[in-house]
Protein backbone atom coordinates (compact mmCIF):
# COMPACT_ATOMS: atom_id res chain seq x y z
CA UNK A 1 0.00 0.00 0.00
CA UNK A 2 1.13 3.52 -0.75
CA UNK A 3 2.72 5.63 2.00
CA UNK A 4 0.98 8.99 1.96
CA UNK A 5 2.31 12.38 2.88
CA UNK A 6 0.30 14.44 5.38
CA UNK A 7 -1.16 16.58 2.60
CA UNK A 8 -2.43 13.65 0.55
CA UNK A 9 -6.01 12.53 1.11
CA UNK A 10 -6.68 9.42 3.18
CA UNK A 11 -10.07 9.05 1.51
CA UNK A 12 -10.58 10.15 -2.03
CA UNK A 13 -13.85 9.76 -3.88
CA UNK A 14 -13.96 10.81 -7.53
CA UNK A 15 -17.25 11.28 -9.38
CA UNK A 16 -18.85 8.36 -7.59
CA UNK A 17 -22.25 7.23 -8.84
CA UNK A 18 -24.16 4.34 -7.32
CA UNK A 19 -27.42 3.04 -8.76
CA UNK A 20 -29.29 0.13 -7.24
CA UNK A 21 -30.86 -2.32 -9.62
CA UNK A 22 -33.97 -4.05 -8.45
CA UNK A 23 -34.88 -7.36 -10.06
CA UNK A 24 -37.65 -7.21 -12.62
CA UNK A 25 -37.84 -3.41 -12.62
CA UNK A 26 -38.22 -2.01 -16.13
CA UNK A 27 -36.95 1.44 -15.33
CA UNK A 28 -33.59 1.87 -13.59
CA UNK A 29 -33.83 3.05 -9.99
CA UNK A 30 -32.79 6.65 -9.35
CA UNK A 31 -29.12 6.97 -8.43
CA UNK A 32 -28.49 6.62 -4.69
CA UNK A 33 -25.28 8.63 -5.04
CA UNK A 34 -24.77 11.10 -7.87
CA UNK A 35 -21.37 12.24 -9.03
CA UNK A 36 -19.90 12.53 -5.56
CA UNK A 37 -16.37 13.85 -5.16
CA UNK A 38 -14.87 14.16 -1.72
CA UNK A 39 -11.54 13.98 0.00
CA UNK A 40 -10.58 13.58 3.64
CA UNK A 41 -7.07 14.40 4.80
CA UNK A 42 -4.99 12.72 7.45
CA UNK A 43 -5.84 13.67 11.04
CA UNK A 44 -9.24 15.13 10.19
CA UNK A 45 -12.52 14.29 11.86
CA UNK A 46 -14.99 14.43 9.01
CA UNK A 47 -18.75 14.45 9.58
CA UNK A 48 -20.88 13.00 6.83
CA UNK A 49 -24.40 14.32 7.19
CA UNK A 50 -27.69 14.00 5.46
CA UNK A 51 -31.29 13.00 6.08
CA UNK A 52 -32.35 9.36 5.95
CA UNK A 53 -31.96 8.00 2.44
CA UNK A 54 -29.51 10.72 1.42
CA UNK A 55 -26.86 8.17 0.40
CA UNK A 56 -24.47 8.29 3.37
CA UNK A 57 -24.42 4.57 4.08
CA UNK A 58 -24.36 3.82 0.34
CA UNK A 59 -21.26 6.01 0.00
CA UNK A 60 -19.64 4.24 2.95
CA UNK A 61 -20.57 0.85 1.48
CA UNK A 62 -18.99 1.82 -1.83
CA UNK A 63 -15.94 3.11 0.02
CA UNK A 64 -15.55 -0.23 1.76
CA UNK A 65 -16.14 -2.27 -1.40
CA UNK A 66 -19.46 -3.75 -0.23
CA UNK A 67 -21.22 -2.47 -3.32
CA UNK A 68 -19.88 -1.71 -6.74
CA UNK A 69 -20.04 1.83 -7.99
CA UNK A 70 -21.88 2.39 -11.28
CA UNK A 71 -19.13 4.84 -12.21
CA UNK A 72 -16.35 6.77 -10.54
CA UNK A 73 -13.60 5.63 -8.20
CA UNK A 74 -12.86 5.56 -4.52
CA UNK A 75 -9.46 5.29 -2.89
CA UNK A 76 -8.32 4.58 0.64
CA UNK A 77 -4.72 5.59 1.33
CA UNK A 78 -4.25 5.90 -2.41
CA UNK A 79 -5.31 2.30 -3.08
CA UNK A 80 -8.47 1.47 -4.98
CA UNK A 81 -11.14 0.18 -2.61
CA UNK A 82 -11.59 -2.92 -4.77
CA UNK A 83 -8.28 -4.22 -3.37
CA UNK A 84 -8.71 -5.97 0.03
CA UNK A 85 -5.32 -4.55 1.10
CA UNK A 86 -6.90 -1.06 1.02
CA UNK A 87 -8.73 -2.08 4.19
CA UNK A 88 -5.59 -3.02 6.15
CA UNK A 89 -5.32 0.33 7.93
CA UNK A 90 -8.97 1.09 8.52
CA UNK A 91 -11.44 0.38 11.30
CA UNK A 92 -15.13 0.22 10.49
CA UNK A 93 -18.13 0.36 12.75
CA UNK A 94 -21.40 -0.38 10.96
CA UNK A 95 -24.77 0.73 12.23
CA UNK A 96 -26.76 -1.72 14.38
CA UNK A 97 -24.64 -4.84 14.28
CA UNK A 98 -25.29 -7.87 16.46
CA UNK A 99 -21.90 -9.51 16.92
CA UNK A 100 -21.46 -13.28 17.31
CA UNK A 101 -23.54 -14.01 20.40
CA UNK A 102 -21.67 -17.18 21.28
CA UNK A 103 -18.31 -15.40 21.59
CA UNK A 104 -16.94 -13.32 24.44
CA UNK A 105 -15.63 -9.81 23.77
CA UNK A 106 -12.02 -10.91 23.92
CA UNK A 107 -12.63 -13.90 21.64
CA UNK A 108 -14.31 -11.63 19.12
CA UNK A 109 -11.39 -9.20 19.21
CA UNK A 110 -8.89 -12.06 18.94
CA UNK A 111 -10.71 -13.29 15.83
CA UNK A 112 -10.62 -9.90 14.13
CA UNK A 113 -6.97 -9.40 15.15
CA UNK A 114 -6.15 -12.74 13.51
CA UNK A 115 -7.61 -11.50 10.23
CA UNK A 116 -5.35 -8.46 10.42
CA UNK A 117 -2.41 -10.77 11.01
CA UNK A 118 -1.51 -9.14 14.32
CA UNK A 119 1.02 -11.27 16.27
CA UNK A 120 -0.33 -12.95 19.43
CA UNK A 121 1.46 -10.91 22.14
CA UNK A 122 0.52 -7.69 20.33
CA UNK A 123 -3.08 -8.95 20.02
CA UNK A 124 -3.36 -9.42 23.78
CA UNK A 125 -1.90 -5.95 24.40
CA UNK A 126 -4.32 -4.39 21.89
CA UNK A 127 -7.29 -6.25 23.40
CA UNK A 128 -6.42 -4.93 26.87
CA UNK A 129 -6.04 -1.43 25.47
CA UNK A 130 -9.26 -1.23 23.45
CA UNK A 131 -11.39 -2.92 26.09
CA UNK A 132 -10.10 -0.39 28.59
CA UNK A 133 -10.85 2.41 26.15
CA UNK A 134 -14.46 1.30 25.62
CA UNK A 135 -14.82 0.39 29.31
CA UNK A 136 -15.63 -3.27 28.83
CA UNK A 137 -12.71 -4.71 30.79
CA UNK A 138 -14.95 -6.10 33.52
CA UNK A 139 -17.15 -8.08 31.13
CA UNK A 140 -14.52 -9.27 28.66
CA UNK A 141 -15.15 -12.95 29.45
CA UNK A 142 -18.91 -12.72 29.23
CA UNK A 143 -20.62 -13.85 26.04
CA UNK A 144 -21.89 -11.02 23.86
CA UNK A 145 -25.48 -12.28 24.10
CA UNK A 146 -25.52 -11.01 27.70
CA UNK A 147 -24.53 -7.46 26.68
CA UNK A 148 -26.84 -4.46 26.55
CA UNK A 149 -27.24 -2.51 23.31
CA UNK A 150 -24.79 0.14 24.46
CA UNK A 151 -22.23 -2.51 25.40
CA UNK A 152 -22.65 -4.15 21.98
CA UNK A 153 -22.05 -0.81 20.31
CA UNK A 154 -18.89 -0.39 22.38
CA UNK A 155 -17.73 -3.89 21.41
CA UNK A 156 -18.25 -2.73 17.84
CA UNK A 157 -16.07 0.27 18.48
CA UNK A 158 -13.45 -1.98 20.08
CA UNK A 159 -13.35 -4.24 17.00
CA UNK A 160 -12.96 -1.17 14.81
CA UNK A 161 -9.93 -0.14 16.87
CA UNK A 162 -8.24 -3.53 17.25
CA UNK A 163 -5.75 -2.96 14.43
CA UNK A 164 -4.82 0.54 15.65
CA UNK A 165 -6.27 1.97 12.41
CA UNK A 166 -5.15 5.20 10.81
CA UNK A 167 -8.67 5.74 9.48
CA UNK A 168 -11.92 5.03 11.27
CA UNK A 169 -15.17 4.84 9.35
CA UNK A 170 -18.13 5.00 11.70
CA UNK A 171 -21.70 4.68 10.49
CA UNK A 172 -23.94 6.41 13.02
CA UNK A 173 -21.82 5.35 16.00
CA UNK A 174 -24.18 6.83 18.59
CA UNK A 175 -27.42 5.49 17.14
CA UNK A 176 -29.54 3.83 19.80
CA UNK A 177 -27.28 4.85 22.67
CA UNK A 178 -28.35 6.63 25.83
CA UNK A 179 -26.88 10.09 26.60
CA UNK A 180 -24.03 8.59 28.64
CA UNK A 181 -23.23 6.13 25.85
CA UNK A 182 -23.20 8.98 23.33
CA UNK A 183 -20.94 11.04 25.53
CA UNK A 184 -18.52 8.12 25.82
CA UNK A 185 -18.43 7.62 22.05
CA UNK A 186 -17.79 11.36 21.62
CA UNK A 187 -14.95 11.15 24.14
CA UNK A 188 -13.44 8.22 22.27
CA UNK A 189 -13.61 10.08 18.95
CA UNK A 190 -12.03 13.14 20.58
CA UNK A 191 -9.26 10.95 22.01
CA UNK A 192 -8.63 9.38 18.62
CA UNK A 193 -8.46 12.83 17.10
CA UNK A 194 -5.83 13.79 19.67
CA UNK A 195 -3.86 10.70 18.65
CA UNK A 196 -3.87 12.00 15.07
CA UNK A 197 -6.28 9.42 13.66
CA UNK A 198 -8.57 10.25 10.77
CA UNK A 199 -12.24 9.71 11.54
CA UNK A 200 -14.97 9.67 8.89
CA UNK A 201 -18.39 9.30 10.39
CA UNK A 202 -22.04 9.74 9.62
CA UNK A 203 -24.50 10.92 12.20
CA UNK A 204 -27.87 12.50 12.71
CA UNK A 205 -26.72 14.10 15.96
CA UNK A 206 -25.77 17.50 14.63
CA UNK A 207 -24.75 18.76 18.05
CA UNK A 208 -22.13 16.06 18.43
CA UNK A 209 -20.93 16.56 14.86
CA UNK A 210 -20.46 20.25 15.60
CA UNK A 211 -18.50 19.37 18.74
CA UNK A 212 -16.09 16.83 17.34
CA UNK A 213 -15.77 17.45 13.59
CA UNK A 214 -13.21 19.52 11.74
CA UNK A 215 -15.08 19.39 8.45
CA UNK A 216 -18.52 18.33 7.37
CA UNK A 217 -20.25 17.39 4.15
CA UNK A 218 -24.00 17.42 3.73
CA UNK A 219 -25.52 15.00 1.30
CA UNK A 220 -29.08 15.23 0.05
CA UNK A 221 -30.78 12.93 -2.45
CA UNK A 222 -27.41 11.46 -3.34
CA UNK A 223 -25.78 14.79 -4.12
CA UNK A 224 -23.14 16.65 -2.20
CA UNK A 225 -24.71 19.94 -1.22
CA UNK A 226 -22.17 21.50 1.09
CA UNK A 227 -18.67 20.70 2.23
CA UNK A 228 -16.43 22.74 4.48
CA UNK A 229 -15.01 23.51 7.93
CA UNK A 230 -17.42 23.68 10.84
CA UNK A 231 -15.64 26.49 12.66
CA UNK A 232 -15.69 28.84 9.70
CA UNK A 233 -19.42 28.49 9.28
CA UNK A 234 -20.17 29.24 12.89
CA UNK A 235 -17.81 32.19 12.90
CA UNK A 236 -18.86 33.84 9.64
CA UNK A 237 -22.57 33.28 9.65
CA UNK A 238 -23.62 33.10 13.26
CA UNK A 239 -25.46 30.01 12.17
CA UNK A 240 -25.24 26.63 13.76
CA UNK A 241 -24.93 23.36 11.88
CA UNK A 242 -28.55 22.41 12.46
CA UNK A 243 -29.81 25.57 10.76
CA UNK A 244 -27.47 25.04 7.84
CA UNK A 245 -28.50 21.41 7.56
CA UNK A 246 -32.21 22.26 7.46
CA UNK A 247 -31.67 24.88 4.79
CA UNK A 248 -29.52 22.60 2.68
CA UNK A 249 -32.15 19.90 2.63
CA UNK A 250 -34.85 22.47 1.86
CA UNK A 251 -36.58 22.36 5.23
CA UNK A 252 -36.94 25.93 6.41
CA UNK A 253 -37.45 27.04 9.94
CA UNK A 254 -37.71 30.49 11.47
CA UNK A 255 -34.30 32.10 11.81
CA UNK A 256 -31.78 34.28 10.03
CA UNK A 257 -31.58 33.63 6.31
CA UNK A 258 -28.29 32.39 4.89
CA UNK A 259 -27.26 33.68 1.49
CA UNK A 260 -25.44 31.26 -0.80
CA UNK A 261 -22.71 33.86 -1.30
CA UNK A 262 -22.08 33.82 2.46
CA UNK A 263 -21.52 30.09 2.31
CA UNK A 264 -19.17 30.39 -0.67
CA UNK A 265 -17.20 33.07 1.18
CA UNK A 266 -16.92 30.73 4.11
CA UNK A 267 -15.33 28.13 1.84
CA UNK A 268 -18.36 25.86 1.37
CA UNK A 269 -18.15 24.16 -1.97
CA UNK A 270 -21.33 24.14 -4.07
CA UNK A 271 -23.16 26.63 -1.88
CA UNK A 272 -24.10 28.88 -4.79
CA UNK A 273 -26.44 26.19 -6.06
CA UNK A 274 -28.41 26.29 -2.83
CA UNK A 275 -31.82 27.86 -2.81
CA UNK A 276 -32.18 29.42 0.63
CA UNK A 277 -35.54 31.06 1.11
CA UNK A 278 -35.24 34.41 2.90
CA UNK A 279 -38.70 33.96 4.33
CA UNK A 280 -38.97 32.06 7.57
CA UNK A 281 -41.55 29.77 6.06
CA UNK A 282 -41.68 26.22 7.34
CA UNK A 283 -41.96 23.73 4.52
CA UNK A 284 -40.88 20.21 3.73
CA UNK A 285 -38.82 19.66 0.62
CA UNK A 286 -40.32 17.16 -1.76
Amino acid sequence: MKQLSAAEPVIEIRNLCVTYRSRGARKPEPAAVKNLSLSVRSGEVFGFLGPNGAGKTTTMNALLGFINASSGDAFLFGTNVREPIARQRIGYLPELTYYYKFLTAEELLRFYARIFGIPKPETERRIDLVLKLVELEGVRRRTIKTYSKGMQQRVGLAQALINDPDLLILDEPTSGLDPIGRMKVREIIARLKDEGKTVFFSSHELGEVETVCDRVAILHQGQLKVEGRVGELAECHQCNLEQLFLKVIGYHQPGPALAPSDLENAGYRGASSLQCSPTPKLRQAT
Binding site: L64, F66, E95, Y99, I115, G117, I169
Partner: protein
Protein backbone atom coordinates in the same frame (compact mmCIF):
# COMPACT_ATOMS: atom_id res chain seq x y z
CA UNK B 1 -4.67 -19.20 4.48
CA UNK B 2 -4.62 -17.57 7.94
CA UNK B 3 -7.84 -15.74 7.12
CA UNK B 4 -9.55 -18.95 6.00
CA UNK B 5 -8.46 -20.69 9.22
CA UNK B 6 -9.62 -17.72 11.34
CA UNK B 7 -13.10 -17.83 9.79
CA UNK B 8 -13.28 -21.63 10.09
CA UNK B 9 -12.35 -21.48 13.79
CA UNK B 10 -15.42 -19.33 14.46
CA UNK B 11 -17.68 -21.83 12.67
CA UNK B 12 -16.28 -24.69 14.77
CA UNK B 13 -16.73 -22.66 17.97
CA UNK B 14 -20.31 -21.96 16.95
CA UNK B 15 -21.05 -25.66 16.46
CA UNK B 16 -19.84 -26.75 19.88
CA UNK B 17 -21.38 -23.78 21.68
CA UNK B 18 -24.80 -24.30 20.21
CA UNK B 19 -27.19 -26.99 21.42
CA UNK B 20 -27.99 -28.55 18.00
CA UNK B 21 -25.13 -31.03 17.95
CA UNK B 22 -25.61 -32.12 21.58
CA UNK B 23 -29.34 -32.62 21.08
CA UNK B 24 -28.79 -34.76 17.98
CA UNK B 25 -25.97 -36.72 19.59
CA UNK B 26 -27.93 -37.43 22.77
CA UNK B 27 -31.02 -38.40 20.76
CA UNK B 28 -29.04 -40.75 18.51
CA UNK B 29 -27.17 -42.19 21.48
CA UNK B 30 -30.38 -42.81 23.42
CA UNK B 31 -32.06 -44.59 20.49
CA UNK B 32 -28.93 -46.69 19.91
CA UNK B 33 -28.63 -47.59 23.60
CA UNK B 34 -32.28 -48.59 23.82
CA UNK B 35 -31.91 -50.73 20.72
CA UNK B 36 -28.71 -52.29 21.98
CA UNK B 37 -30.46 -53.35 25.17
CA UNK B 38 -33.10 -55.28 23.21
CA UNK B 39 -32.32 -58.97 22.62
CA UNK B 40 -33.42 -59.77 19.07
CA UNK B 41 -34.68 -63.37 18.69
CA UNK B 42 -33.20 -63.99 22.12
CA UNK B 43 -29.75 -64.09 20.53
CA UNK B 44 -27.04 -61.74 21.84
CA UNK B 45 -24.90 -62.26 18.77
CA UNK B 46 -27.32 -60.71 16.27
CA UNK B 47 -26.13 -57.15 16.03
CA UNK B 48 -26.52 -56.63 12.27
CA UNK B 49 -29.93 -55.01 12.58
CA UNK B 50 -28.74 -52.85 15.41
CA UNK B 51 -25.78 -51.68 13.35
CA UNK B 52 -27.91 -51.00 10.29
CA UNK B 53 -30.43 -48.83 12.11
CA UNK B 54 -27.84 -47.05 14.23
CA UNK B 55 -25.69 -46.22 11.19
CA UNK B 56 -28.76 -44.90 9.39
CA UNK B 57 -29.37 -42.62 12.37
CA UNK B 58 -25.75 -41.48 12.29
CA UNK B 59 -26.11 -40.68 8.58
CA UNK B 60 -29.32 -38.75 9.14
CA UNK B 61 -27.88 -36.84 12.10
CA UNK B 62 -24.74 -35.93 10.17
CA UNK B 63 -26.79 -34.66 7.21
CA UNK B 64 -28.96 -32.58 9.54
CA UNK B 65 -25.88 -31.07 11.20
CA UNK B 66 -24.11 -30.41 7.89
CA UNK B 67 -27.06 -28.82 6.12
CA UNK B 68 -28.46 -26.76 8.99
CA UNK B 69 -25.05 -25.52 10.15
CA UNK B 70 -24.00 -24.50 6.63
CA UNK B 71 -27.34 -23.03 5.58
CA UNK B 72 -27.34 -20.46 8.38
CA UNK B 73 -23.75 -19.24 7.96
CA UNK B 74 -24.05 -16.50 5.33
CA UNK B 75 -27.71 -15.53 6.01
CA UNK B 76 -26.93 -15.11 9.73
CA UNK B 77 -23.91 -12.97 8.91
CA UNK B 78 -26.12 -10.80 6.70
CA UNK B 79 -29.01 -10.62 9.13
CA UNK B 80 -26.83 -9.70 12.11
CA UNK B 81 -24.76 -7.42 9.87
CA UNK B 82 -21.51 -9.05 11.01
CA UNK B 83 -20.66 -9.55 7.34
CA UNK B 84 -19.92 -5.83 7.05
CA UNK B 85 -17.23 -5.46 9.74
CA UNK B 86 -15.79 -8.77 8.57
CA UNK B 87 -15.45 -7.72 4.93
CA UNK B 88 -14.25 -4.28 5.98
CA UNK B 89 -11.10 -6.09 7.08
CA UNK B 90 -8.45 -7.38 4.68
CA UNK B 91 -10.51 -10.48 3.98
CA UNK B 92 -11.75 -11.28 0.50
CA UNK B 93 -15.17 -12.77 -0.19
CA UNK B 94 -13.52 -15.92 -1.55
CA UNK B 95 -11.57 -16.34 1.69
CA UNK B 96 -14.77 -15.88 3.66
CA UNK B 97 -16.56 -18.59 1.68
CA UNK B 98 -13.61 -20.96 1.86
CA UNK B 99 -13.36 -20.31 5.61
CA UNK B 100 -17.05 -21.07 6.05
CA UNK B 101 -16.73 -24.25 3.98
CA UNK B 102 -13.65 -25.44 5.85
CA UNK B 103 -15.21 -24.59 9.22
CA UNK B 104 -18.42 -26.47 8.47
CA UNK B 105 -16.52 -29.42 7.04
CA UNK B 106 -14.17 -29.67 10.01
CA UNK B 107 -17.05 -29.20 12.45
CA UNK B 108 -18.95 -32.03 10.74
CA UNK B 109 -15.78 -34.11 10.83
CA UNK B 110 -15.57 -33.63 14.60
CA UNK B 111 -19.24 -34.55 14.95
CA UNK B 112 -18.65 -37.68 12.83
CA UNK B 113 -15.72 -38.72 15.03
CA UNK B 114 -18.02 -38.51 18.09
CA UNK B 115 -20.80 -40.45 16.37
CA UNK B 116 -18.53 -43.20 14.98
CA UNK B 117 -16.62 -43.55 18.27
CA UNK B 118 -19.85 -44.00 20.16
CA UNK B 119 -21.23 -46.38 17.55
CA UNK B 120 -17.96 -48.34 17.39
CA UNK B 121 -17.91 -48.75 21.17
CA UNK B 122 -21.53 -49.87 21.21
CA UNK B 123 -21.21 -52.33 18.32
CA UNK B 124 -17.82 -53.56 19.54
CA UNK B 125 -19.16 -54.24 23.03
CA UNK B 126 -21.73 -56.61 21.49
CA UNK B 127 -19.54 -58.17 18.81
CA UNK B 128 -16.16 -58.15 20.54
CA UNK B 129 -14.71 -57.35 17.15
CA UNK B 130 -13.13 -54.02 16.11
CA UNK B 131 -12.76 -53.63 12.31
CA UNK B 132 -10.85 -50.33 12.56
CA UNK B 133 -10.04 -50.16 8.83
CA UNK B 134 -13.71 -50.55 7.94
CA UNK B 135 -14.64 -47.77 10.33
CA UNK B 136 -11.91 -45.51 8.93
CA UNK B 137 -13.02 -46.09 5.34
CA UNK B 138 -16.74 -45.72 6.07
CA UNK B 139 -16.15 -42.60 8.18
CA UNK B 140 -13.70 -41.07 5.72
CA UNK B 141 -15.99 -41.53 2.72
CA UNK B 142 -18.94 -40.29 4.77
CA UNK B 143 -16.93 -37.14 5.59
CA UNK B 144 -15.97 -36.69 1.92
CA UNK B 145 -19.65 -36.93 0.97
CA UNK B 146 -20.49 -34.29 3.58
CA UNK B 147 -17.93 -32.01 1.90
CA UNK B 148 -20.04 -32.07 -1.29
CA UNK B 149 -23.25 -31.52 0.68
CA UNK B 150 -21.72 -28.57 2.56
CA UNK B 151 -20.44 -26.93 -0.62
CA UNK B 152 -23.85 -27.40 -2.26
CA UNK B 153 -25.63 -25.90 0.77
CA UNK B 154 -23.22 -22.96 0.86
CA UNK B 155 -24.04 -22.26 -2.78
CA UNK B 156 -27.74 -22.58 -1.93
CA UNK B 157 -27.39 -20.08 0.92
CA UNK B 158 -26.24 -17.47 -1.61
CA UNK B 159 -29.01 -18.23 -4.08
CA UNK B 160 -31.94 -18.56 -1.67
CA UNK B 161 -32.24 -15.75 0.82
CA UNK B 162 -34.25 -17.68 3.43
CA UNK B 163 -32.22 -20.35 5.28
CA UNK B 164 -35.35 -22.49 5.76
CA UNK B 165 -35.99 -22.74 2.01
CA UNK B 166 -32.34 -23.54 1.42
CA UNK B 167 -32.41 -26.29 4.08
CA UNK B 168 -35.57 -27.81 2.58
CA UNK B 169 -34.24 -27.71 -0.99
CA UNK B 170 -30.88 -29.16 0.03
CA UNK B 171 -32.54 -31.98 1.98
CA UNK B 172 -34.75 -32.81 -0.99
CA UNK B 173 -31.79 -32.81 -3.39
CA UNK B 174 -29.54 -34.86 -1.11
CA UNK B 175 -32.25 -37.39 -0.23
CA UNK B 176 -33.24 -37.61 -3.89
CA UNK B 177 -29.68 -38.34 -4.97
CA UNK B 178 -29.12 -40.84 -2.16
CA UNK B 179 -32.33 -42.73 -2.86
CA UNK B 180 -32.74 -42.39 -6.63
CA UNK B 181 -29.36 -41.34 -7.97
CA UNK B 182 -28.19 -44.82 -8.88
CA UNK B 183 -31.47 -45.66 -10.70
CA UNK B 184 -31.62 -42.62 -12.98
CA UNK B 185 -29.79 -44.32 -15.86
CA UNK B 186 -32.14 -47.32 -15.72
CA UNK B 187 -35.17 -45.03 -15.75
CA UNK B 188 -33.65 -43.11 -18.67
CA UNK B 189 -33.51 -46.28 -20.76
CA UNK B 190 -37.28 -46.63 -20.58
CA UNK B 191 -37.93 -43.06 -21.75
CA UNK B 192 -38.30 -41.71 -25.30
CA UNK B 193 -35.96 -39.04 -26.69
CA UNK B 194 -35.26 -36.24 -25.82
CA UNK B 195 -36.22 -37.05 -22.21
CA UNK B 196 -33.82 -39.98 -22.26
CA UNK B 197 -30.85 -37.74 -23.13
CA UNK B 198 -31.93 -35.17 -20.58
CA UNK B 199 -32.14 -37.75 -17.80
CA UNK B 200 -28.82 -39.26 -18.85
CA UNK B 201 -27.24 -35.82 -18.72
CA UNK B 202 -28.68 -35.34 -15.25
CA UNK B 203 -27.36 -38.75 -14.22
CA UNK B 204 -23.84 -37.78 -15.23
CA UNK B 205 -24.06 -34.22 -13.89
CA UNK B 206 -25.25 -34.87 -10.34
CA UNK B 207 -22.78 -35.76 -7.60
CA UNK B 208 -23.40 -39.43 -6.82
CA UNK B 209 -23.54 -39.23 -3.06
CA UNK B 210 -24.73 -42.84 -2.86
CA UNK B 211 -21.25 -44.01 -3.93
CA UNK B 212 -19.98 -42.88 -0.55
CA UNK B 213 -22.49 -44.93 1.39
CA UNK B 214 -20.34 -47.89 2.44
CA UNK B 215 -22.17 -48.69 5.64
CA UNK B 216 -22.33 -52.32 4.56
CA UNK B 217 -18.61 -52.58 5.24
CA UNK B 218 -19.39 -52.17 8.93
CA UNK B 219 -22.79 -53.86 8.99
CA UNK B 220 -21.66 -57.11 7.31
CA UNK B 221 -18.01 -56.92 8.34
CA UNK B 222 -16.97 -57.09 4.70
CA UNK B 223 -13.29 -56.83 3.80
CA UNK B 224 -12.09 -53.25 3.37
CA UNK B 225 -12.16 -51.50 -0.01
CA UNK B 226 -8.86 -50.89 -1.80
CA UNK B 227 -7.35 -47.59 -0.58
CA UNK B 228 -6.86 -46.54 -4.21
CA UNK B 229 -10.63 -46.63 -4.69
CA UNK B 230 -11.12 -44.59 -1.51
CA UNK B 231 -8.62 -42.03 -2.78
CA UNK B 232 -10.39 -41.78 -6.16
CA UNK B 233 -13.76 -41.37 -4.46
CA UNK B 234 -12.29 -38.61 -2.27
CA UNK B 235 -10.93 -36.88 -5.37
CA UNK B 236 -14.37 -37.14 -6.97
CA UNK B 237 -15.92 -35.53 -3.87
CA UNK B 238 -13.29 -32.79 -3.79
CA UNK B 239 -13.86 -32.02 -7.47
CA UNK B 240 -17.61 -31.61 -6.97
CA UNK B 241 -17.09 -29.56 -3.79
CA UNK B 242 -14.64 -27.34 -5.66
CA UNK B 243 -17.16 -26.91 -8.49
CA UNK B 244 -19.90 -25.84 -6.07
CA UNK B 245 -17.50 -23.51 -4.27
CA UNK B 246 -16.39 -21.86 -7.51
CA UNK B 247 -20.04 -21.29 -8.41
CA UNK B 248 -20.65 -19.86 -4.91
CA UNK B 249 -17.66 -17.51 -5.27
CA UNK B 250 -18.95 -16.30 -8.63
CA UNK B 251 -22.40 -15.62 -7.18
CA UNK B 252 -20.99 -13.91 -4.08
CA UNK B 253 -18.33 -11.88 -5.90
CA UNK B 254 -20.70 -9.35 -7.44
CA UNK B 255 -23.38 -9.49 -4.75
CA UNK B 256 -24.12 -6.08 -3.21
CA UNK B 257 -24.00 -6.08 0.59
CA UNK B 258 -26.30 -3.41 1.87
Amino acid sequence: MKNILAVSSIVIKELYRRKDFYVLFILTALICLVMASVRIFNDDKIVRYLKEICLLLVWLASLVIAITTTARQIPAERENRTLLPLLAKPLSRTELLLGKFLGCWLACGLALVCFYLFFGLLAGSREHHWPVTNYLQAGGLHWAMLGMVIALTLLGSLVFSAPSSNVTICFVIVSGILLLGRHLNKVALALPEPRRSLLYSLYYAIPHLELFDVRDLIIHNWPPIAWRVCALATLYALAYAAGFLIAACLVFRRRALN
